[in-house]
Subunit: 340 residues, 4 copies
Amino acid sequence: MSVKKLRFGIIGAGRIGKVHAETLAYRLPEAQIMAVTDVNREAAQALADKFSIPTVAASSDEIIADPQIDAVLICSPTGTHADLIIQAAKAGKHIFCEKPIAFSLDKIDAALAAVKTAGVQLQIGFNRRFDANFARVRKAVATGEIGKPSLMHIISRDPNPPSPAYARSSGGVFVDMTIHDFDMARFLMGDEVEEIYTAGAVLIDPEIGKAGDLDTALIVLRFRNGAIGTIDNSRKAVYGYDQRVEILGSEGKIETANCYPNQAVISGGTAVHRDLPLNFFMDRYTESFSTELKSFTQAVLENRPTEVTGIDGRIPVAMALAARKSYDEHRPVRLSEVEA
Amino acid sequence: MSVKKLRFGIIGAGRIGKVHAETLAYRLPEAQIMAVTDVNREAAQALADKFSIPTVAASSDEIIADPQIDAVLICSPTGTHADLIIQAAKAGKHIFCEKPIAFSLDKIDAALAAVKTAGVQLQIGFNRRFDANFARVRKAVATGEIGKPSLMHIISRDPNPPSPAYARSSGGVFVDMTIHDFDMARFLMGDEVEEIYTAGAVLIDPEIGKAGDLDTALIVLRFRNGAIGTIDNSRKAVYGYDQRVEILGSEGKIETANCYPNQAVISGGTAVHRDLPLNFFMDRYTESFSTELKSFTQAVLENRPTEVTGIDGRIPVAMALAARKSYDEHRPVRLSEVEA
Amino acid sequence: MSVKKLRFGIIGAGRIGKVHAETLAYRLPEAQIMAVTDVNREAAQALADKFSIPTVAASSDEIIADPQIDAVLICSPTGTHADLIIQAAKAGKHIFCEKPIAFSLDKIDAALAAVKTAGVQLQIGFNRRFDANFARVRKAVATGEIGKPSLMHIISRDPNPPSPAYARSSGGVFVDMTIHDFDMARFLMGDEVEEIYTAGAVLIDPEIGKAGDLDTALIVLRFRNGAIGTIDNSRKAVYGYDQRVEILGSEGKIETANCYPNQAVISGGTAVHRDLPLNFFMDRYTESFSTELKSFTQAVLENRPTEVTGIDGRIPVAMALAARKSYDEHRPVRLSEVEA
Amino acid sequence: MSVKKLRFGIIGAGRIGKVHAETLAYRLPEAQIMAVTDVNREAAQALADKFSIPTVAASSDEIIADPQIDAVLICSPTGTHADLIIQAAKAGKHIFCEKPIAFSLDKIDAALAAVKTAGVQLQIGFNRRFDANFARVRKAVATGEIGKPSLMHIISRDPNPPSPAYARSSGGVFVDMTIHDFDMARFLMGDEVEEIYTAGAVLIDPEIGKAGDLDTALIVLRFRNGAIGTIDNSRKAVYGYDQRVEILGSEGKIETANCYPNQAVISGGTAVHRDLPLNFFMDRYTESFSTELKSFTQAVLENRPTEVTGIDGRIPVAMALAARKSYDEHRPVRLSEVEA
């Protein structure tokens, strides 16, 4: 009668660590959190208290060494991801790792090699693949519902710019923010990008520019199948989180709208209005965070490949490097140019 | 460090019992299910297995007698509600009871009297009050955002008619289906109905007519504040569950749309279309079921009145009786006419 | 090479007279305005100047006697309609008459009898039949696209209440405003109403109540085919003219939205909004006014029956009388009760 | 009492000539068509018959020489535009000319010089400026309603590709189709474009590719004010004409939806759908064609500058040249590069 459970250790008790802990604790009967750790021990303790996690581990080493743990959830800063993947893989743990794996392709390749050698499962945290809107778009393309795709648009705007300090440490907008859109582009089209052209600007916060980053970007993607598309990124949309896609195909188009906290429309004396869309990723993508962990957990329990593999974690980083190179050199850049 | 939990016993392991069990098990850290019972013991056992409920009780008596249980969740057939409320109240248990309390006002009054005498908390399962759309409409009325209300419409249509057998045992469409809309009418307007006129028909399934019931109804409500409104009920909408409201006020109107599984719109060669709305109450009202139990749990833990009281359970039954009387006598009927 | 033109005389140079004159002058190559008259000669003169109408007639007698005129457009006050129809019919003129024909069925019957005797064409100004939205709904019902209709809703709200003086002279809200909705109900359903129940109120302007009229109404219609429906009327919607319908059938529903001056949506820092809908009938129904006159003109030129006959002008008045009787007597009233 | 009328001669009785003739004949009291000519005399005669135009001129020379004509409407093939402008300007006629003025900047400059020397008025047929949707977007930008613009998208797709023969003679997609979008970009942003990058493809009809043209394009625009934007062009959208824009600014965004023949939504057993959007430019932009001619007529009658000047006709051609050069050379191209 007892169901087999996947036993998790969580490394990193920050914003996304909390989201995942809540999912594991309250949404996934087949998951069990054994331990949590964070360089900030108080944060780890608070998480443990909130979700009745039995152990607060002293370090990621302790988590990875724990024989009672089947899988690690890597939610620590990007700079630690690749090494933790290697270490966990060597210890035979299955791995769920937040994006990006690393800022350099070399480091990513080393991590993926370790995973391959160890034969463990790896899933990258591209949660948007599990969002109902984007899954519906993918389905429309995959089933031929809109025919052969020719044009694609991804709109992806944050409600507020990060601090310049964050902009600096995050590796820049392409590897921090656009990386989700790069993943979406590949996922939705079911095809790979060959060439990227970036038009960017600093229009929101000059400090972001001083930190060497951009806050506004239009990225043109050319796919192998001949289709072309754009990604529209802004670090500030006053009306909130803006996440939409549109694909035109030979038999039709599919486009998504934002998600709203309610479906009420008010008609007053001066305008017809509704409340602002769901604000930022934790509200907008709540369900997808839950679904991606369910997907990972079941893949491991049933010994199937994960839905978002290590290669899926590598290619968007290559795209980010190409996007930056295009911006710096003011010309279209082929993805092959950013390979070693 | 340990949080106080409210310990529940569940009476009835049918469709709605399962929904509530899942909420208590996976969504509410402050709740704990101690036991479940059902006249169908296998159903109770299955529920216990699925949600790791320690005890399958032999009867509701056993649940109500259990000193480890703080609150009972009454999800059994309507005919048992009033007696279970009385019994649980006498045992000092707090009570969450599904609608309707009973088919007769006498029985309801006896149950409410027992609750009052015992000084326990009672909440009725009018989950729609906790739905984001309807809560937003209520807010618009309560805050004066649309001024003084004058006209109201509630559209409430099921995707499929019940079996004639169900129609017979359910007490009829008004007390089974419209009762939610009667509650919404009071809740949204923040006012009481004085008079009801019903135009009804059997247009979907003649067997429902033979069972003495209707499958199509328009109910006109006259509120004390002078406003007037309608409820539109149909037992069959081929496109799925249709749940909308609209209120016109002196300063504007507010109207809600249905909720959809995704926000994707497909433009093809013959039409612009989207997927059907969320189908039936378990999909459409998932969040509200969770929120209503959270509201009850917190009200009990914090010793506050519940948000949906016994009177809120009684009045919609009186409205259902008046609606039926109006239909039978083909004239407007005042609510005072159905009081003893 | 020269096209046959229908030569019009216009009786009444008020608001609706101007609308029709503009259509005849600038939209209908097959129409020609020969003369206009109004008890206010200056208004007639202004219209003649604006649209290059050659003759300002001294009276309606002069128009009706003019052998160069093929058809009269009756846009004068309701009290004059029936007599003008009789007079014009006797003179062998084809007639386009604004609604309502008269406030009493006797007068209407006399007018229709004269039309029949004379063998002239008569069309009543129920322009909404020619509106793209409502025509689409009619098509959905007529073709079986939504199956057999069971429930219908008509929302019809004005942006501002009329003056109490107008309310008094207009014959009341049912014969003045709801009459369009009564026509819509018959037209959209393709069926006749048997019984009417009216719930009404004075919620906007007490002076309208003192004038013996209502400003807010819900009217329940029972059709011969068993379907039921409502008409929602308000004399004041602060957001503008609100004109929507919805029909539920056994195979689906069709519902219309309001029409807007543009399709732009603005997302700002506090709400997502759009401009108010088209305000009042001259903006909202511009095209339908043009189409109805084209329909009349072609029907006469081609000697076909008009699309909105005298009977179509009579029945909504009977419905208005039944609606008022229901309101006065606080009970459902059958249409047969208002027949002599 | 008599109103001053502007007397027009129409050169070219093709598709757009007919549209303009209907506007002048039936929508603009202040306009009068004196004559029409076309190399296809039968087409000119048919137009004259339909709109009661007194004279069918033997040639454009005859129209331009006619002292009774105040203004010429140039609707002939593009190759003739510049010479006709020069000729008409010398004859002192005011000029309304369809886009583009010419395929080369030299020819355009010669035409504009002639207009300047003659001191006549010139308006270019960029009708979309007069469309209610786009005018609303322009207003939002001009008034600061959405703050300082940063990102812009124009979607502009035709329902069906032209014949390869047309593609060849039209000068290519940029100067034939995108030219409207180039004008929109300048108009909506109220700013000039400095640099253009084009990603294009032949995905719809290989014959178009063989003719040296594209059928699918994404064009990135960089504005002087730092904003960036895209134009999305496709020669084939199976669902019909797709014309939308979106601008993100520091205080919000504005986006437009397509226009539909009606506002009816049908919910059936498998999908919620509505009819396809208005199909192609004559349906979609009917009102704007009327408004642009009204604007021109009034500008001339009141001796004011036209709303779309010769320079407004020149710059989009320069943009088209830069777009093509970018496509050919696979790099971003500055507008200054296409100047002589």
